[in-house]
């Protein structure tokens, strides 16, 4: 019973670590790292559910009956691309913010913004 979900719990722990980094940390780059960990963990979750005991990779071959579910794989391929796209954009923003504010720490930027107003 417990073992049946063990895998998912690990994934949840990973997700939450990523999520924690995103919301608790002030460094813009680190936030993005956290975001990508968060997303990657979700990918792991998807892939986990596609697994069948005794199944193989979903490439058709003679003599194999059990295949893992290909659909989550497809979804995650797409999601990975989305993830890298977000990361790239986020990093680009971080670089620009560094140029404009001279800092990539959330608090410092916030303080400078408040001065602007």
């Amino acid at each position: 019973m417990l073992l049946g979900h063990y895998n998912y719990w690990i994934v949840i722990v990973l997700m939450m670590i990523g999520f924690y980094i995103v919301i608790a940390h002030g460094n813009l780059i680190k936030k993005i790292v956290g975001l990508s960990i968060f997303q990657t963990s979700v990918f792991i979750f998807y892939i986990s559910m596609a697994k069948i005991d005794g199944g193989t990779a979903p490439i058709l071959a003679e003599g194999i009956e059990q295949y893992s579910n290909p659909l989550p794989h497809v979804l995650i391929l797409t999601a990975i691309v989305v993830g890298i796209a977000t990361t790239a954009l986020g990093l680009a923003l971080a670089v620009r913010i560094k140029e404009a504010y001279g800092s990539i720490e959330e608090e410092e930027i916030q303080n400078k913004d408040n001065l602007d107003c």
């Binding site: 919301i23 997303q39 989550p72 989305v82 796209a85 954009l89 923003l93 913004d113 602007d116």
Partner: protein, 492 residues
């Protein structure tokens, strides 16, 4: 070709975006984008007409029938949304050429239009599709282009706003992804129609409960529903004016659409509102949102901020209408969706015109503008009156329906609070009116002229629409009613 309308609706702007790179002249690209958006508008009009007369259109992409392939499923609800998005996009684009010349460096103009078309296509894609995962993909197209568009703003704060939006938006999208994953795990399908058939069997499971919770939180993040609204004001305030006008009218509407789609079509009313304390939660958050955001709006010194907070308050009205779970409430929400799009796009475009002429939208710089830019300011006043909900404007019509729906539910206090909330709108709108009309112009601003025609035409088109749909409500009410009927499964 008519049967391909659903897919053409999305792929025309989608394919037009990369094509822009081949036309290197910004002017040309603008014209091209305008034509493309106009085409999308035309298609959405045709689609709506088709749907109203002959019911839901189903289009199987790749020729694979659902749930194996992805299908587009256009019913009255999303046809209505498609029309709102594409029409506003087209009208706003008219002013784009003039506006971005002042606000964006010249070598980024082509990129601007590409991103604009992409985000248009993304939103249309979210609305048109009948596949849950496809929603996620198109959500990302529209979001990524939105982040980039916002970051194009002149002020350095635009970068920071965009970054915050990116983080919040991505968290939201990932939550949605988790929700979709959990749903998929319990049902084995991604198609919405199929999901709605298979979910009831497993609706008692805790997994589905979790899936629902994640979807709702994710969507509410995108929706900027109070208290998840923190990203919105800065994003709207520092983005280029055109972008603000476009997004204020459409982006949150798409999120509302998703909310309606998932709670009512996919999960079904009985699940969403009986297994889940969604009704109480939404009524309270909606009302608190109205009051808090309107109050904050009153104290803003930048008019763009002011209207951004007002947008959050208006989202509150839609949430309240939605949470009534009656046909009348849904009609009111849909009506307000349309009406609010008209008001806010007009208002933000007018602010764009002010930005164009005086380079800022600080409230103190509005002094005496009523004389210098009479037509623009008149537009802001009419738009503001509409926001308040004065008769003969669209705002009144939606308020009427909303209060009516509340009374029908027997929610008297809610009805009174809705009306009370609109008084706060009077206060913030009047701050602008007094500043513009009863203060002498600032020294050294004698040379300020009325906004150019390329601004006035779209602004006044929208303002006249505000008045027209406030006087003749047959069209909008009929469509909104039909859409909410089809949502609740009543045949008209």
């Amino acid at each position: 070709m008519l049967i391909h309308l659903p897919v053409l609706q999305v792929i025309i702007p989608l394919l037009a975006a990369p094509l822009c790179l081949f036309l290197t002249k910004p002017r040309l690209v603008w014209l091209f984008a305008l034509i493309v958006s106009g085409l999308a508008f035309l298609i959405s009009g045709l689609l709506l007409q088709q749907v109203m007369t002959s019911g839901t259109i189903i289009y199987d992409l790749g020729g694979w029938d659902a749930p194996w392939g992805i299908e587009y499923r256009i019913d009255r609800l999303n046809a209505f949304l498609l029309l709102i998005i594409s029409s506003i996009s087209t009208i706003v684009l008219i002013a784009a050429d003039t506006s971005i010349r002042k606000e964006i460096p010249a070598d980024h103009h082509v990129l601007f239009y590409i991103l604009y078309l992409l985000s248009l296509a993304g939103m249309l894609g979210i609305v048109a599709t009948g596949d849950a995962f496809n929603v996620f993909v198109f959500l990302e197209i529209s979001s990524l282009s939105a982040y980039a568009l916002i970051a194009l703003g002149k002020d350095r704060r635009a970068l920071w706003a965009s970054y915050q939006y990116l983080i919040m938006g991505t968290i939201g999208a990932t939550f949605i992804l988790i929700g979709i994953g959990l749903m998929y795990q319990m049902t084995g399908t991604l198609n919405m129609e199929d999901l709605s058939k298979r979910l009831p069997e497993v609706s008692q499971t805790r997994t589905v409960f979790t899936a629902f919770a994640f979807l709702i939180v994710g969507i509410c993040l995108k929706l900027a529903m109070f208290p998840l609204h923190l990203w919105l004001p800065n994003a709207y305030a520092y983005a280029p004016s055109i972008v603000t006008a476009f997004f204020a009218a459409t982006a949150t509407k798409v999120a509302i659409y998703l909310l309606i789609r998932f709670t009512i079509t996919v999960f079904g009313l009985s699940f969403s509102f009986t297994h889940f304390p969604l009704q109480l939660l939404f009524v309270v958050l909606g009302l608190v949102g109205i009051f808090v955001a309107s109050t904050v709006a009153i104290y803003q010194t930048n008019v763009k901020h002011l209207f951004a907070y007002s947008s959050i308050a208006q989202i509150g009205y839609m949430i309240v209408g939605f949470s009534m779970t009656t046909m009348a409430g849904m009609t009111a929400t849909l009506l307000h969706l349309f009406n609010h799009a008209l008001m806010k796009s007009a208002l933000f475009l007018a602010l764009g015109a002010v930005m164009y002429r005086i380079g800022t939208t600080k409230l103190t710089h509005f002094q005496g503008l009523g004389r210098q830019m009479p037509l623009t300011l008149a537009a802001i006043v009419i738009g503001g009156l509409s926001l308040i909900g004065v008769p003969l404007t669209v705002g009144f019509v939606s308020k009427w329906y909303l209060v009516m729906a509340a009374i029908e539910n027997g929610w008297w206090p809610v009805a009174a609070l809705i009306l009370l909330g609109s008084l706060l709108a009077v206060v913030y709108v009047w701050r602008i009116v007094e500043m513009a009309y009863f203060k002498p112009a600032l020294a050294g601003t004698e040379t300020i002229k009325e906004a150019p025609l390329s601004f006035l035409i779209p602004i006044w088109t929208l303002i006249l629409a505000n008045i027209y749909f406030g006087i003749d409500t047959r069209l909008s009410v009929q469509v909104a009613q039909a859409a909410s009927m089809s949502l609740f499964g009543v045949t008209p």
